[in-house]
């Protein structure tokens, strides 16, 4: 029986340890926090970061955790997912205004602040890394 070709088996990758990655992500987030929305710098930075993560994940260069079996209990995740989709869709269809704000409209004034923006970048990077490791 052949093994999946993209399932890396070598767990020894010193640069994938949290002691290395957390400071790297922190620096990347602190830099990203300086780039305002709609700027060329922010777009290029996002393209570069996403590109590296997607390449790492799709090329199988990073060891992955073995997948866990998923049963019918996964349906419980539909509860928050459908509620989020419903609220977001209704507010979007009603124009995404102050009276009917979408999530991004609510997030914009928060992410205008450097600390929140850098923290958001850090969270985004950490979750993306989590996806790469899965």
């Amino acid at each position: 029986m052949s093994q999946p070709t993209d399932l890396a088996t070598d767990p020894v990758r010193p640069w994938t340890r949290p002691a290395v990655l957390v400071p790297v992500f922190a620096v990347l987030a602190l830099v990203g926090g300086f780039f305002p929305s709609f700027s060329i710098e922010a777009n290029l930075y996002m393209i570069a970061l996403g590109g590296v993560f997607a390449w790492l994940g799709l090329s199988g260069r990073v060891p992955r955790r073995p997948p866990a079996p998923v049963g019918r209990g996964a349906a419980w995740w539909l509860v928050p997912a459908l509620l989020l989709a419903g609220v977001e869709l209704v507010d979007f269809l009603l124009g995404s205004t102050d009276a009917h704000p979408t999530l991004s409209l609510l997030a914009d004034p928060v992410l205008d602040r450097y600390v929140a923006r850098a923290a958001g970048y850090f969270g985004w990077l950490t979750v993306f890394w989590g996806l790469v490791r899965r």
Partner: protein, 72 residues
């Protein structure tokens, strides 16, 4: 602040609470509910032939989400 705005914010807050509750249930011993990470891992295992469709879809979604909040 209008009632509809409060309802919208309350809806998003409720989503956050529900995510936390389901994740907490999933992390209990012998839980039948997978964690969000396990669910993502399951989705990313989906392939169409040799194309890792699930992985591309989740990476693409997360990439787009970052662009949407930080670059657009």
């Amino acid at each position: 602040m209008s009632v509809t705005r409060v309802l919208a914010i309350g809806g998003f807050a409720l989503v956050a609470v529900l995510v936390a509750v389901v994740e907490w249930v999933a992390r209990r011993e012998n839980s039948r509910v997978p964690t969000l990470g396990e669910l993502c891992g399951f989705v990313m295992e989906y392939r169409a032939g040799n194309v890792p469709v699930g992985r591309i879809a989740l990476y693409g979604f997360w990439w787009w989400l970052g662009w949407h909040f930080f670059a657009r």
